[in-house]
Structure formats: C-alpha cells, structure tokens
Symmetry: C2
Subunit: 320 residues, 2 copies
C-alpha cells in the first residue's frame, strides 16, 4: 500500500557544531518520502523551481517514490538556511526563501487520490487541507506542523486538525498548541481538536505516543556521532507511515512498532548532513540498530514484583 506525502523539496544550508553543508537536498518532502520508501511505495506531492537538479528527482524515483505529483514552476526552489548552536533538536532559522512555494497549488494526479495513508508534512495548514480535500477516502492521516503555523495560522491549522488522525509535534509545539505544560495534559487537549493519536517527538529525550487507551514511550538511542539534526522529525514520520502502510493497519501494537522504527531511522539520518545517511543505509544496519533499541529498553519486571511483595510487612508497618 502506497503512502501519499505532501511536503517541501528544498535546498538546505546548515551549520552545526560538527560542520556545515550548502545547498543540499532538504525539505520535509525529501525526508518523509525517502524514509517512507524504505518500507513501501511513496507518492510525493511537492513543488520545485527551474533550478532543481534532475539527479535529486532521480534519487527519489530509484527509491520507489512516485514524483509525478511534483510540480515544476518558473522561478527558484524553496531555500532554508539554519544553524544548530548545539546538538539539540532546536534549529535557529537564519533565512527562508519561499520562492516557488508561494505559488504552489497542489493538484494531485488521479492515482494519488486513492491514497489511504497520508502524511501532511510541515507546510501551510491551508495547503495541507487542500491536499486532503483531494484524497477520496484516507484510512489514516498524519500531520506535522510547527510553532510558526500554530501562531500565524491557528484557525486554519485547527480546521486541518479536525481531519487528522495522528499529529506529530515536538514538546514546545505540543505545549504551545494546547496551552498545557504537562505533556499528558497537552496531548489530551490536542486530542480534543481532532487527532485521536498524538506523537510527541522529544529529540534526545525520545518519543511518546498517546492514544485513546494506549501510551507508549521510548528513550532516544544514545548516539556517539550526531552531525545534523535536520530531517530527524520527518524521517521519523515518514518511517512511521511507511511502516503502517506496509503492515496495512494502525492498531496499538503496530503503532508502537512504527514509533520504535521511526526512532531508529531518525537515529541514522542525524549522523550525516542532508539525506546522506539514508543514501547508504542498508538493511543490516537497520536490523542491528533495531536490536540495539530493543536491548536498550529491555528489563524483566517479575523479579521486581517479587521483591515488592516480599517486603510487604515494611509498608504495612510503616502505615501504622
């Protein structure tokens, strides 16, 4: 089953404490679709200018990404320039050139309109909604957003959220969108806005999935070699959706697996600039790191249960 991705294709210029890269392939659409394509076919809706190199589209095509929904417009491709003062996940935006993004009117090819698994990357919520309106009968709609839209286009974002099943936000965004500091309370408020599932991406604190009856949390994989956090969130979301579509379901156990796999794939993409780490990433490495994550969090609860029960008299005495 294919996933439908809407997101930007961009030239990113990034500096981090570990180096810099100029005009590299970036944008939510790149990361979302390259990550999703590890698990199945992807249909990408996006926009590029006349300066977008054929090799980037060719890279995506070879990854089973359908780029027939990528519109080429007169002018320049979207550009972003950012700086990471430390290896946290908060970028400082130094410059944004919207360019062709300003006049982007998404028109989905007929084959895209039957998509069941939809990821709305971090773009103007009006664009997100316009894409969604062209999809006939989506099974699960995931949406990413950012503080900029929460502040500037709150009403439009709320309209989009009413049609979203799964919202992915970071901690700051969850707090700003909900007005609640406590993350459980924040998720509860957001769930009333529409999404029945909320994923809170917490960078080096891991990730949390909050649903109706199920709450899941994983720590971040401890990394020795983080070089560029750009795209971590999109890689996470693209992986989640690619995996759910491949499994053909989004029940709680499968959602947990999707979050864990998203964290694994995100842990790779930050090891190099742009999408470079995804270009060379092989099956064996993914399997190895999956094993690493499973091992990282594993513990046996039964000896603890026995120790607590054995010490029963302590708490009985203490409550005298």
């Amino acid at each position: 089953m294919s996933i439908l991705v809407v997101g930007t294709l961009a030239f990113d210029s990034v500096t981090t404490p570990f180096g810099e890269r100029q005009d590299a392939l970036g944008g939510s659409g790149s990361f979302l679709s390259a990550a999703g394509a590890f698990f199945g076919p992807v249909q990408l809706s996006s926009v590029i200018g006349e300066d977008f190199p054929a090799e980037h589209l060719e890279f995506l095509r070879r990854r089973q990404v359908d780029v027939s929904g990528v519109q080429q417009l007169p002018g320049k491709t979207f550009r972003w320039r950012g700086h990471y003062p430390s290896d946290t996940n908060d970028a400082q935006t130094l410059e944004t050139q919207l360019n062709v993004l300003k006049s982007f009117e998404p028109h989905l090819p007929a084959s895209y309109r039957r998509a069941e698994w939809v990821v709305l990357g971090n773009v103007d919520p009006e664009l997100q909604l316009r894409v969604l309106e062209q999809v006939e009968r989506p099974q699960l709609v995931a949406c990413d957003t950012m503080n900029y839209w929460i502040r500037r286009s709150n009403a439009q974002l709320r309209a989009t959220l009413r049609r979203v099943d799964l919202l992915l936000v970071n901690e700051t965004e969850a707090r700003e969108l909900s007005g609640e500091h406590n993350l459980l309370r924040a998720a509860a408020v957001i769930r009333k806005m529409g999404p029945r599932l909320v994923v809170i991406k917490r960078g080096e604190s891991g990730a949390m999935l909050i649903g109706d009856t199920d709450t899941f949390a994983i720590p971040a994989l401890p990394l020795l070699n983080l070089r560029d956090p750009t795209g971590a969130g999109d890689t996470f979301a693209g992986t989640m959706m690619g995996y759910l579509a491949a499994q053909g379901r989004a029940d709680p156990p499968t959602l947990r697996q999707a979050v864990a796999l998203g964290a694994v794939m995100a842990s790779f993409v930050v090891e190099d600039f742009s999408l470079d780490r995804l270009r060379t990433l092989g099956q064996g490495e993914i399997l190895q790191r999956l094993g690493h994550l499973a091992d990282l969090v594993g513990f046996d609860v039964n000896p603890m249960r026995r120790a607590v029960v054995r010490q029963g008299p302590v708490s009985a005495v203490s409550s005298l």
Copy 2:
C-alpha cells in the same frame, strides 16, 4: 542484606508552581533511607541538631532504618530552602544553613562497618571518603554528587570516585565532571575516573545506565500530578541500592531492574512534598506502576524485522 546510607537529615523549605512547604523533613539521608527501606534494612549515618523532632527518627525506625549512626550535636539541624520555577528537576537554592553539618565527623557504629552495599549521598566528598574508609569490605559503593562539589572540591571528589563502583549524576553534572557534552562520551570519561557504572538521571527524560558492556535506558513515567521534585534522585538511588542488596547481586539484568524500580519509586515521591508520598505508599500502588512502566516501553521487534527484510530490494536498488 542491609544497605549503609550516608546523607543529610534536613529541614527543607520548598516552593514549586504547585505549592509550598516549610521546614519539612528532607535531606539526602531521609530520602535514600526511606526509599531503600522499602526493600530491606537500612543503616543510616547522619547528623542532626538539638531541634530535630523525635517523630522523624521514629518514622525512620519504624521503616527498619537503623538510626544508631545518626549523631546528635549541639546546635541546629541542616536547613535548605529552594525554589522550582517549573516542574523540571532544576532547583534554585535560595538558602543553605549547614549548621551541625559543619562539625560532622562520621563515626560508624561497629555493626555498620560490615556493610556490603554502601550509598554515599550528596555531601562533601571528604565526608564520603571518611565514611568509606570505615567500611571493611564493601561489595558495591554508589555515590551521588552535585556541581557544587565538582567545582569546589574536584580533587577530593576524584579521590572518592576512585573507590566508587556506581556514580549517579544528572545530565549537567555528567557534562561538567567529564568535560564532554555527549552523554555516552561523558560516561566513558567518568568510568575512567573509577566508577564502572554510571547512571545518568535525566528527570523527565528518564534515566540511563552505562556499564562496561551494558547500556540501558528508560523514559520517565509520564506524570499528571508532579508537585515537588525534591528527593527524586535520592529516592531513585536509595531504591536502586535497596533492591540490589535485597537481590544480593549487581549483574546487568539486576542493575536494569534496579534502575526501573528506582524510576518507579521516584515517580511517586515527586507527587507530594517532602517524603509524604512515601509515607502512604503501599505495595499495590508500586506493583501497579511497575506494570505501567513495563507496559509503557513494551514493543515487539519481530514484525519490524520482517518488514525491513521484506523491503530488501529497496535499499539494494537505491545503492546503485
């Protein structure tokens, strides 16, 4: 098997966004021993002034804490006044009155000297060392410290660390002690200073245990009702050591369990001021939250493995 705790007994005055409490029972020794005593007997080495109420010692005694090593000196008990601007784990110290702590010379009763499980709470590293020198043959020595000692008594702390097996620090302390920002690298540097095991307490990001061959991480339990973070770290450490002593071993699986149980017990203590939550905490609640933690982090890695392998051709094609 008993654990030996050295730590302060104090009057804490604390304000948090959720309330305030004046002159409540606090100090690392209180939390360490009250938490450890949930899992077995505790021997407490500490100091109090003439103003320390008998009821606090009586509370500890009823919890199977041996207080024969608590020395009463002329003068006032140690006092700490702190403020938490938000529900993070960083307290602002408003006032510290060392009082009797200034003249504390720990003399361990004979029965304490045979202790095998030793927790050096956050006090002057010289005091920690002086306690340690009186213990005949410790099996595992755990140590807590803070930035104050890292900065002011670095040489003394280093001398103590050479005899420590398990160091518990928060992220900031790990970075400051090691000079490394990356937590894995920080732990590696600290392990060269002596402790073969490093636990990094990360507040609402959970905790990480780094040993020779084993790395373990858990997310924090998401809490709806956090009232006062004071004592979370000591409750964590006391629980870890109480559990290890009860199990009589500190192999990697048992250490993982100790960390998980420590996180569970710490998640209770922050729900109320002072040690109040530990006073009423019963077996059933601990068992329930243990189940909650196990459930929070559980996922099945096998369907993910199959999905990765199934998509083999993708990465093969992509690397062309």
